[in-house]
């Protein structure tokens, strides 16, 4: 019999993932429990690359939760739903991975594969997770959120302002991810031709999250067309996977 995907914490993780958190406090709770399990995953334990990402994600989400309580956003209903939808995709990728399903997004599986080693530096690992989560999951989470709130992704709207507010949270919370890091990231993107170039569509992109917003607008326009939607999904998955593998390669180490 092959060893379970999550080794000694397999049953715990399966149990945790069976639950679908439906509000932001529940998402934070979920991420906290997950963190406790991930750092117990041999052989890397504390330095598990996924734990690096999960920890970062937990910090960001907790800050978002505080912001929701503290009246920081214009449209909390939007941001709360987005947060839940966004997290749902991460948990879903974990579920697919747990079931060894071929449906696991490639963007994620490149990070999941590294859970058992070889060890990667914490920042590139976290960045690989951020990459999968923002470049692949976020546009779809946005579309689903707008769809369920019967609203639309429009530049300059309250929702867009709230969305950009999250950038500030990133900036506050991860000084390492700020300018210097982004410069390196941008440099790396420049090094890759072809697909990634198309992906950016020649727009001057300061921040990956803007790409996600633009991609969401693009998917929004074709969301009723299953073929076009699937085509977009594959494209985003492939591109995010490409970038993710790069981050986790020895090349990624130069980011830190």
């Amino acid at each position: 019999m092959t060893e379970p995907v999550w080794g000694p914490v397999h049953q715990d993780i399966v149990g945790l993932l069976a639950d679908h958190p439906a509000d932001v406090p529940a998402v934070v709770d979920h991420l906290t429990k997950l963190q406790d399990l991930l750092v117990r995953l041999p052989p890397l334990e504390q330095s598990c690359p996924l734990a690096d990402f999960n920890k970062l994600y937990l910090v960001i989400t907790s800050t978002v939760l505080d912001g929701l309580y503290d009246d920081r956003f214009c449209d909390p209903a939007f941001l709360a739903r987005l947060d839940v939808e966004f997290a749902a995709r991460y948990f879903e990728a974990l579920r697919f991975w747990t079931d060894s399903s071929p449906s696991t997004p490639k963007a994620w599986s490149c990070l999941f594969k590294r859970m058992r080693g070889p060890d990667a530096r914490p920042l590139p690992s976290a960045a690989a997770g951020v990459n999968a989560h923002i470049n692949y999951d976020l546009p779809f989470a946005l579309v689903t959120t707008f769809d369920s709130l019967e609203s639309e992704p429009i530049d300059g709207s309250d929702q867009h302002r709230d969305y950009l507010e999250i950038n500030k949270i990133f900036a506050e919370r991860i000084p390492e991810l700020r300018r210097g890091y982004l410069d390196n990231w941008q440099l790396m993107i420049d090094m890759v031709n072809g697909d990634i170039d198309d992906w950016y569509q020649g727009e001057l992109v300061e921040y990956t999250r803007n790409v996600a917003w633009r991609n969401a607008q693009k998917i929004w326009r074709c969301r009723h067309d299953p073929d076009a939607r699937e085509c977009e999904r594959t494209r985003l998955d492939d591109n995010a996977a490409l970038l993710g593998r790069l981050l986790l390669s020895p090349l990624g180490a130069f980011l830190q």
Binding site: H20, A22, D23, V24, P25, A26, L65, L68, Y69, D70, D71, C74, D75, P76, A77, A80, R81, V84, E85, A88, D99, S100, S101, P102, S103, P105, P139, F140, V143, T144, T145, D147, S148, L149, E150, S151, E152, I154, S157, I219, R223, H224, D225, P226, R229, E230, E232, R233
Partner: protein, 979 residues
């Protein structure tokens, strides 16, 4: 070869089958609904399970309706349901059922477009299904739900919420691959997953032993270990692939296919030519493809065609049923699509289109449009697309209509392909402006605001389009609907300033702008604008709608600017105008605004209720019962609840629900009814309504989420589940806008009350973090409330008083009686007895805890008790009793009238003779307690009389009822319509 079609046994799904059966049938109590959504990758066996469970339930006596959603993307609204009914019609021999089925199908045929027809259509379909079911439980089985249209989705939620009053269960399959990304069903499933009545089951591939078992069953003997290993590796437990690989092995073929796609490619390659053609033809068609249609498309002589079909079936690619042919798996169509050359595919579509043109059939226009478009003949596809759009609008399917209109627009600009004979078809004459106009309106109705605006822009550029002013008003309307107030305001102002706009257009713009400004909270400007609109309307006939809109804006703005009397007078005049010269909708609208003004900002509750009820009667006369009467009765119910006339409120809400409303109207009423049930402490009824609300909200409607959460928290507190109350409040706090002062204040009070009561009852640990956050919310609200308009401030301050008092409980564990007294007086002033009674109870409790002014505490308890009793507020009454008995305050010694059992609006019909007639009021009370299973001592405690006196009462009761045991006495009590 025919033996090759035999079906392998269903392996490894025993547990799932049992779960499905119990969720859909066995565990369903009468009147309940249930649903299972099966998700899983292609080939994992979803369709097979659907068929098996459907068959089982049919044999058990359920009426099973089976349908599938279509992947042509622009099908017709509610198609899967119509298809299921048609299939049932073909199967049924009973004349009675047949006429019932035809009756429902006729509902679809006879539907006419109209305002709010969508809800009425849902109700009629539900009624029709009720008749078809004829008392049997109804099971709706839907395959390929990933392609479901919006109307069907709404119908499912409506029925599952129990609004159709139908015992129904739904079993639906969804391809997991489709759910990745941003599928619209994702969010619906997230919401539904939380409901008790809904299960979402992820169907996983088979495990190793089930894989072996299935392979052995197909081969006829267990596989050698090495072969079994290989099969497990290659198939990954996907039953479809397992079956195919095992079959290859049995037949000595050396299949190389590991995936579904490869399996299909292998199968297609192995087909003889005519069968090959048949499979390709079905793949291009819209399923089910009828035999006559296939014959026309494939163009084979009858004998050869039958052979070819048989061959395709034997190769497990095709299935035949009474209504036509389908591919065994829809994935095959995707595989086959890559096999055909574009010209070949176009030719097949052309044949379909030609054959269908002559014979109107199901989905006629949508299919024609689909085939002509793919045949490369936009000119012939265009009229069909337009007809399909109108057909969708007739059934209120604006999302589908929008897509058909958009397709029509594309077709109108698309260059026609060269025909087979080399000629180019004539370009079609089409009114592009008309297409744009329809497409924009349909997009607006289906919530595609950005798209609607883009289309409108194109229409503005079109020289043959409508005049500029009309377009600007329309643009403003779309912008306002999209929540983009600033540009909407600009458009309205543009119309007001434009010299070439007619007075009528200016009047419309002014009235709408006033309404918009009111929503933005700019009361003074709204008032000015409304006055301007009213002045303009005075000179233009036929502007009653504008008068009503502007008067409402003026009325509300005056209410907020503290000249309520003037505002009220304006609104009353508007009602007169509407009655004199308006359409029925204007009258209804005027009544609603007046009632909302009175029960809302003005807090003149009794009069508001009278107006709402009078309005309800009036609009029912005008034929607007379903929509406007329902809304007016919802206003009346909420008013009655607040003034404490709960029994009356219950009657009104029951009357309103008889119209079986849908969507937001239904949610409003269910919430109103639930509020009553929570007050009465009827846990089961509250739960049922909260589930129903959550079901409807899964389809959208974010603004009702907070009222739902507040009720959930209130209910949880009566159940002692302070953890659940805390959860509901936390969710609410993280999802509400800071300008929802009243909602936030209500939430904060519930949150603080939960913490304070958790501390008092030691149910859960007080969460200091939660308390800190709630404190911050209260502080912020106090600031916001001070700046808000008077009516908002008025209500918010009542809740803030409650918050302050709860906080004092948390601070010292006893509570500050002065703060509770203040809260009680605040609510007295607002004429809301329920929170006033609650505050008095807490005030008494705080006094007793300080052992000061015990006599005052006793009086307060008496007063709270009387209030709670007259409301019928059972849990509050019980809590007052508990505190009173602890303090040895005898409540019933007071000169208050004896407690009246809660009057129920819909009491079940009891036996003709009241067997309890001989009992005195006190004996009835004692008997009620006996029936609850209380001992004489407990009854004594509850009624504050001695145990011995209870013994005397009980023996009198036994004599009068001629029974000898408590059980017998209880039985008689319950039989006689007791609760």
């Amino acid at each position: 070869m025919a033996s090759d079609v035999d079906t392998a046994p269903l392996v490894g799904r025993t547990g799932t089958m049992a779960t499905l059966r119990s969720a859909l049938y066995d565990d369903l109590r009468p009147g309940q609904t249930g649903a299972v959504f099966l998700t899983g990758e292609s080939g994992v066996g979803k369709t097979r399970l659907l068929t098996e469970v459907g068959e089982q339930l049919r044999q058990t006596g359920a009426l099973v309706l089976t349908g599938a959603c279509l992947d042509i993307g622009d099908a017709s609204p509610l198609h899967p349901v119509r298809q299921a009914l048609r299939r049932l019609d073909a199967e049924q021999a009973q004349a009675r059922t047949t006429s019932a089925i035809r009756g429902v199908l006729q509902v679809f045929d006879e539907e006419t477009p109209g305002p709010d027809g969508a809800g009425a259509l849902l109700e009629r379909v539900a009624q029709g299904l009720h008749v078809v079911a004829g008392g049997r439980p109804l099971v709706l089985v839907l395959d390929d739900l990933q392609w479901v249209d919006r109307s069907t989705r709404q119908l499912l939620l409506y029925l599952l919420a129990g609004l159709g009053d139908l015992q129904l269960s739904v079993l639906a399959a969804i391809r997991a691959e489709s759910l990745r990304g941003a599928h619209p069903l994702r969010r619906v499933l997230t919401e539904l997953r939380r409901l008790r009545s809904v299960r979402v089951i992820d169907l996983l591939p088979l495990d190793r032993s089930a894989t072996d078992e299935l392979a052995a069953a197909v081969v006829g003997a267990p596989l050698p270990p090495e072969a079994a290993d290989q099969l497990w590796q290659r198939s990954g437990g996907n039953p479809f692939v397992v079956e195919e690989l095992a079959r290859d092995r049995r037949d000595g073929r050396d299949g190389l296919s590991d995936t579904l796609r490869e399996v299909f490619l292998d199968r297609v390659d192995a087909l003889p030519q005519p069968a090959h053609a048949v499979v390709h033809a079905v793949a291009v068609g819209v399923e089910p493809v009828e035999h006559w249609l296939l014959a026309q498309v494939v163009r084979l002589p009858e004998e050869e065609l039958l052979d070819a079909v048989r061959e395709a079936v034997a190769h497990r690619l095709l299935v035949g049923a009474d209504d036509g042919y389908r591919l065994r798996h829809r994935l095959a169509a995707e595989v086959l699509a890559h096999e055909l050359l574009p010209a070949e595919r176009a030719a097949l579509h052309r044949r379909y289109a030609e054959a269908l043109t002559a014979v109107p059939a199901e989905l006629h226009q949508a299919r024609l449009a689909h085939h002509w478009r793919h045949a490369g003949e936009p000119g012939r596809a265009l009229p069909a697309a337009m007809a399909a759009a109108r057909e969708a609008e007739r059934l209120h399917g604006y999302a589908e209509a929008h897509r058909h209109w958009s397709a029509a627009l594309t077709l109108a600009t698309e260059p026609a392909a060269v025909l087979p004979d080399g000629a180019r078809p004539e370009p079609v004459e089409v009114d592009r402006a008309e297409l744009l106009s329809h497409a924009a309106e349909a997009a607006h109705h289906s919530g595609e605001h950005a798209r609607a605006l883009t289309l409108l822009e194109e229409l503005t550029d079109d020289p043959s389009g409508p005049p500029v002013c009309a377009l600007r008003i329309r643009r403003a309307r779309y912008l306002a609907a999209a929540g983009r107030s600033a540009p909407a305001e600009q458009e309205y102002r543009g119309v007001l300033d434009a010299p070439d706009c007619t007075p009528r257009e200016r009047c419309t713009a002014a009235a709408r702008l006033a309404e918009l400004l009111l929503h933005l909270g700019r009361y003074a400007e709204a008032g000015d604008q409304a006055r301007e609109a009213l002045a303009l309307a005075a000179d233009v006939p036929g502007t009653t709608s504008e008068v009503v809109t502007a008067s409402a804006a003026l009325g509300f703005s005056e209410a907020f600017l503290e000249d309520p009397a003037a505002g009220l007078a304006v609104m009353r005049r508007a009602l007169d105008t509407a009655e004199r010269s308006g359409r029925p909708e204007d009258v209804a609208c005027a009544y609603l605004h007046l009632a909302e003004l009175l029960t809302g900002p003005l807090n003149i509750l009794e009069e508001g209720v009278v107006v709402a009820r009078r309005g309800a009667d009036r609009v029912a006369e005008l034929g607007l019962g379903r929509t406007w009467e329902t809304r007016l009765l919802a206003v009346a119910t909420n008013g009655l609840f607040r003034v404490g006339q709960w029994a009356e409120a219950e009657k009104v809400v029951a009357a309103a629900l008889r119209h079986r409303p849908s969507g937001a109207d239904a949610v409003e009423l269910l919430l109103a009814r639930c509020r009553l049930s929570v007050g009465y402490g009827d846990v089961e009824a509250s739960d049922r309504d909260l589930e129903a609300v959550a079901t409807v909200l899964a389809g959208g409607g974010a603004r009702h989420v907070l009222p739902m959460l507040i009720l959930r928290a209130g209910l949880a507190m009566w159940q002692g589940r302070h953890d659940l109350a805390r959860q509901a409040v936390q969710r609410g706090l993280t999802e509400s806008r800071s300008d929802d002062v009243i909602v936030l204040a209500t939430l904060a009070w519930h949150g603080l009350r939960a913490e304070a009561e958790a501390a008092a009852g030691r149910t859960i640990e007080v969460d200091p973090n939660a308390v800190r956050r709630l404190r911050e919310v209260v502080d912020r609200l106090a600031g916001k409330s001070a700046k808000a308009g008077a009516p908002v401030r008025y209500v918010a301050e009542g809740f803030l008083a409650l918050c302050d008092a709860e906080l004092s409980r948390l601070d010292d564990g006893r509570g500050d009686p002065a703060l509770w007294e203040r809260s009680a007086l605040e609510w007295d002033r607002r004429n809301h007895p329920y929170p006033a009674a609650y505050s008095r109870l807490r005030q008494a409790e705080a006094l007793l805890a300080r052992r000061s002014r015990v006599a005052t505490a006793g009086k307060l308890l008496h007063r709270a008790y009387a209030m709670a009793q007259s409301l019928g507020a059972v849990p509050l009454t019980a809590e007052i009793r508990t505190i009173a008995s602890r303090a040895r305050v005898a409540l019933d010694a007071a000169p208050d009238p004896a407690p009246v059992p809660r009057p129920r609006a819909a009491a079940p019909a009891g036996p003709a003779v009241d067997e309890l007639a001989t009992l005195t009021a006190r004996e009835r009370e004692v008997l009620a307690a006996v029936a609850e299973g209380l001992t004489n001592r407990e009854i004594g405690q509850r009624l504050f009389i001695s145990e011995r006196t209870i013994g005397v009462h009980v023996s009198h009761i036994f004599d009068k009822l001629q029974v000898r045991t408590r059980v017998q006495a209880s039985a008689i009590f319950l039989r006689n319509g007791a609760e």
